[in-house]
């Protein structure tokens, strides 16, 4: 018979194991609630600017008028990290309806089960999602058949340009192809010796919204094959993209000179940003920038156009990168039917979507709202509506790793633009291998 101390070990280990696995128990919600019963819902969102908060609060008021039995407590300025951690921790203070400013995490939300599958709710309510939402937006709110989110307004990216600088350089319209883009950028660039004082267009990927995935959308790449394996190495557009960006950079003084200029810019959302101070003649940004420019009144005339496309895809001109806010129901919510009523109102009610889109200058996310005559008639805003409706516009495909593959692609692109990537083919193969390893690690 083993001595008492040895006999105690299995019991200690068993107790520790049970304790550890017990702590890993997720809280489970349900969809058994009566949506007509009085209930208080918690809605977490990311909007923080006073105008945005006012608009979402007004939307909630409209909902409460339609559903007097449902009271909604809103919490703004909530990041994805906070939502993620709160839903994983569970508890009775966790939100029922959640939103995210990025589509990058949808794959993670759907695959992990953290956001509830919405198909049963859509079916119960008779909402045909394919008729309500544009296909690109529907694609970025589901993962491997699970529709765990719905689009709650969208963002489209286009080219802001300084009309005064264009006139001074003798350019009569914004560029439409990448060749025109490089030519115009070179004409608009101002230098003092080796220093670039103003760039026509800053191609460096670290600038504000300039991430490579957004620029790469103009080429219409496919990141994954049918089996979900990364295919950036075999995608011929990847090499074409890097070549074009290098040409664009070289036409304006090269990476190092442009990087030095970039480092002289102020904060992205401030009046010291590169475009506001006139240090950039053209600039990639989302539709929200138009409202900011109207409020900040820069001392030059500005306009908006779609970002140019590759020369051999000239017929796709008008396309752009799409993303947006997404919303869903927390897996831990015990009021999922009531939560669905709120989510359905925010995402599918045409009048609500149009008025909210007008209020915060975001692109509406339903087909009906996109063609509504009630939409803001501002020409800059209308340009983004056209980009959003363009069938060639592209969003990033969701992945179970969240935005890890995007980050890996960005990191690799930083080394390419800095001339540190070495053999491009080998680097892209290694990038694919890394993305696949991350996917496997997230799934296994």
């Amino acid at each position: 018979m083993p001595p008492p101390r040895l006999r105690a070990w299995p019991a200690v280990l068993l107790a520790t194991g049970l304790l550890l696995s017990g702590c890993a128990n997720p809280s489970v919600g349900s969809a058994d609630d009566d949506p007509d019963a009085p209930v208080t819902l918690r809605f977490w969102h990311g909007w923080s600017e006073p105008g945005e908060v006012k608009a979402i609060d007004k939307s909630v008021e409209r909902f409460e008028e339609l559903h007097p039995n449902i009271h909604v407590e809103t919490t703004g300025n909530v990041s994805d990290a906070t939502v993620n951690q709160a839903l994983r921790a569970g508890g009775d203070k966790a939100p029922d309806v959640v939103s995210s400013f990025t589509t990058n995490n949808v794959g993670q939300y759907c695959d992990s089960g953290m956001w509830a599958d919405l198909d049963p709710f859509l079916k119960k309510s008779g909402v045909d999602k394919k008729k309500v939402f544009p296909s690109t937006l529907l694609d970025y709110t589901r993962y491997e058949g699970t529709q765990c989110a719905l689009p709650l307004l969208a963002d489209a990216f286009g080219l802001y340009y300084n009309k005064d600088a264009f006139a001074k350089a003798g350019i009569d319209r914004p560029p439409r192809t990448m060749s025109e883009f490089a030519e115009d950028a070179a004409k608009l660039t101002e230098r003092d010796g080796d220093r670039v004082e103003r760039a026509g267009f800053m191609p460096n990927f670290r600038l504000y919204q300039n991430s490579p995935d957004r620029l790469f959308a103009q080429w219409g790449p496919r990141y994954f094959d049918q089996d979900g394996k990364a295919r950036l190495a075999e995608e011929p557009l990847t090499r074409q993209f890097y070549r074009t960006m290098k040409k664009l950079s070289d036409a304006q003084g090269g990476y190092a000179a442009l990087e030095r200029l970039r480092q002289s810019f102020g904060d992205e959302m401030s009046r010291q940003s590169g475009f506001m101070t006139g240090k950039l003649a053209m600039h990639l940004d989302g539709e929200w920038r138009g409202l900011m420019l109207q409020e900040d009144e820069p001392d030059f005339d500005w306009g908006v156009a779609p970002l140019p496309v590759p020369d051999d895809q000239a017929d796709t001109y008008g396309r752009g990168y799409l993303t947006g806010t997404v919303a869903g129901i927390a897996h831990s919510s015990t009021h999922q039917n009531a939560a669905w009523e709120l989510l359905r109102f925010l995402t599918t009610d045409t009048e609500q979507v149009v008025s909210f889109a007008n209020a915060i200058h975001n692109v509406p996310s339903t087909k009906a709202a996109l063609t509504s005559p009630e939409l803001d008639a501002d020409p800059a805003f209308r340009t983004f509506l056209r980009i959003a409706r363009n069938p060639h516009s592209q969003a990033l495909p969701p992945s179970t790793t969240g935005g890890m593959y995007v980050t890996a692609f960005q990191d690799f692109s930083y080394s390419v633009e800095a001339g540190k990537a070495g053999d491009l083919g080998a680097g892209l193969r290694e990038l694919d291998r890394q993305i696949d390893a991350d996917t496997l690690q997230a799934k296994n």
Binding site: L20, A81, R88
Partner: protein, 332 residues
């Protein structure tokens, strides 16, 4: 001499009273043991809750696939293999952390001793200089980092303006992979106040007679430092090194804030914070642990990294402690 009860030596008392005496002895031992445990219990509870359980949980989850939603699943060594062979950021993060441990800790100790010596040798203005060197330590790390990034901005910061005025083309500081870590070291040297106070106390504690004896033997300043000052402050130096190593192994905030500010990207609710700007030159292992554990929810891999960090910190600390005990016994 009475037999020691704690040593377990049985008293040599033969005869019929032996069983009763044994029972009394056992009761007394039990009481002693309970009393000892009672006195130790606050520490035992704290140790178990805040160290023992988390450590056991970290080991347990390092062998599990666990996304903090679904039940953990045993995956053997897969998380370990992922971290060591498939995670490209592990190498840079470990290198940066070790670089900071070696360079930052060494320079902080040298700088701390130097400033301590300077202040203790001053004839006048001691209060002013002591305050001037100590105050930066009181600045919140985030505020101090924001100020440093502003001062060292390559295009608009006053430091490069001044360097430019004297004909020096200043570096890109936090924007240059080669200068980002040295810039962080400069930030930590600026806040040297904590070590300065400790070293000042140690320096003032060195017996004056030893200096007088050395002077009588004709020792100069360097010889006095080597044979009088240094042996006396060695325990404090070792304390500073050990705590410095442990703290630097957990280096997180300043590197993250500096990287984000220098990159110029606005952090909003939809922004996923990617540490390491520029070119992963400031990413540290604790940042990677947070990123894996609480952004990617790859709990298993985050636990593996935590254990690696723990093992390195333990190894370095034990090495230093052994070295310290060696030094002390050699002097004894």
């Amino acid at each position: 001499m009475a037999p020691s009860l704690s040593s377990g030596t049985r008293p040599e008392t033969p005869g019929p009273t032996a069983p009763a005496s044994d029972a009394r002895l056992r009761r007394k031992r039990r009481r002693d043991r309970l009393r000892t445990i009672g006195f130790l219990s606050p520490w035992l509870v704290g140790f178990s809750v805040f160290f023992g359980y988390p450590l056991a949980a970290t080991v347990y989850f390092s062998f599990m696939h666990y996304n903090q939603i679904k039940q953990p699943e045993f995956v053997g060594l897969r998380n370990w293999s992922y971290v060591f062979t498939q995670m490209p950021l592990f190498g840079p993060a470990l290198w940066n952390t070790l670089w900071l441990v070696v360079v930052m800790v060494a320079l902080r100790v040298v700088f701390g001793v130097g400033i301590g010596l300077l202040v203790t040798k001053l004839k006048s203005g001691v209060g002013f200089f002591r305050t001037a060197f100590y105050v930066p330590y009181l600045a919140p790390p985030v505020a101090a980092t924001v100020a440093f990034v502003f001062l060292l901005n390559p295009a608009t910061g006053p430091v490069n303006e001044i360097l430019s005025a004297v004909g020096i083309d200043g570096p890109n500081w936090f924007n240059d992979p080669a200068w980002a870590k040295p810039s962080l070291v400069m930030l930590s040297l600026w806040g040297i106040g904590d070590l300065m106070v400790i070293f000042m106390a140690a320096l003032l504690d060195v017996p004056k007679e030893q200096y007088e004896a050395a002077e009588l033997d004709g020792a100069g300043a360097l010889t006095k430092f080597r044979f009088v000052t240094w042996p006396n402050i060695t325990p404090i130096v070792m304390f500073a090194v050990v705590t410095g190593v442990v703290q630097t192994m957990q280096y997180y905030t300043q590197a993250l804030v500096a990287g984000k500010l220098a990159s110029g990207v606005t952090i909003g609710p939809g922004t996923v914070i990617q540490p390491g700007y520029p070119d992963h030159s400031t990413i540290t292992v604790p940042q990677l642990v947070y990123q894996l554990g609480f952004q990617n929810f790859n709990t298993g891999a985050a636990c593996v990294l935590s254990l690696v960090l723990f093992a390195i910190a333990m190894a370095v600390t034990m090495l230093l402690m052994r070295r310290r005990s060696g030094l002390l016994s050699a002097e004894d």
